[in-house]
Symmetry: C2
Subunit: 199 residues, 2 copies
DNA sequence: GTCTATATTCCGATAGAC
DNA sequence: GTCTATCGGAATATAGAC
């Protein structure tokens, strides 16, 4: 808020380099060079590398989370809302490489504190929505597992995307957002939206 | 098994540390210290850090891939074989932290060469099996997408496991292998093993 | 095959001028 | 707020004795 330009530039560059290279591989020198300032300047705006990366993460997550909240506040049929969320989530992971890689890095490398923050800031709201739509007639545990499965499907397709061209019968367009959305939506309606009992 | 050679010890320690910390964060000093040799010794057995990590990766993947191949050669009913593979895959990802993290790191950070190797060495064989079982009456593309979804489900549950306790209604035992196996198997039979058409 | 010793580069971080 | 200059340490990697 105080001095937007340099500080925000640092945050965005940091998020991008961290998403691409990981924590240890990105250096303060790299960030400073790409921003166009000196390394010492970074320490004026942030306490250190740890603080900088943490804030960069929060910056990107906050930025990408807002549309989800807005999306969930729209008035729609419940089943429709699930489809809308899935479409947004698939597109987000497919088109925003930085956000996707930050998310996966946190899931793999994040400690308890960071995972807690991730859950609260990004995933809790959509998680509640999906839970209410996933297998309405089932037990709480089954709803929870179904929700994890829905997120897993979207996340997995994004994670496996670069691998698909190397698999037998695979083509890059198997990861196109429209293809994934259609496939996942159809699969989910069969798996979790029928009146089946899960055991 | 006879006394492990120094070379194999180096490979196993390297895989473990790399899985935990990532490429840049693990140092030749760390590896040497944990193995019980000097850093210079590592350069006698391997050309450099790049070469060492690459070989460590191949070592672990080869080790974990063999049981899958054996599994697929057993004589079973086809639907049964899918269940057996899923159970093995879920357990592998849940119990072998090193393998799981190596797999995800490759998916996120691997270049084309490494992804090609990963596809050929680990994923191609199970992928072919699952493809033949996933929606037998459907088009080749639908079979392919269904297979990606099956892998996504298992991978996603493993990836999201550490996050579950932080989500509303989540408990650590939602990631227990037996729970995930039961849930995923049931969901898959509804989503991809019925005679549904996907669109 | 394993060691000691070291070359060289890069890292995060700080002090202080402007 | 941004810079120049630099410190102390750790990184990969090599040379050569045993």
């Amino acid at each position: 808020m105080d001095t937007p330009t340099t500080r925000v530039s640092i945050l965005e560059v940091s998020a991008e380099l961290y998403a691409d290279l990981g924590y240890s591989a990105v250096s303060m020198r790299d960030i400073a060079k790409k921003v166009g300032v000196t390394p010492a300047n970074l320490y004026h705006h942030f306490k250190g590398k740890d603080d900088l990366i943490r804030e960069a993460l929060a910056h990107v997550f906050a930025e990408k989370t807002a549309p989800i909240a807005a999306l969930l506040n729209e008035k729609h049929d419940e089943a429709e809302r699930l489809g809308i969320f899935i479409a947004y989530f698939v597109k987000l992971l497919a088109e925003d490489r930085v956000f996707f890689r930050l998310l996966v890095r946190e899931l793999v490398d994040g400690d308890e504190n960071r995972l807690g923050y991730l859950a609260r800031s990004v995933l809790e709201r959509p998680f509640r929505l999906i839970s209410s739509l996933a297998g309405p007639g089932q037990s709480e545990d089954q709803q929870f597992l179904a929700t994890v499965s829905i997120v897993s499907l979207v996340l997995g397709h994004a994670l496996l995307a670069p691998l698909l061209p190397h698999l037998p019968g695979g083509r890059p367009d198997h990861s196109d957002a429209s293809v994934v959305i259609g496939h996942v939506t159809a699969a989910l309606s069969r798996a979790f939206h029928s009146n089946g009992n899960d055991k």
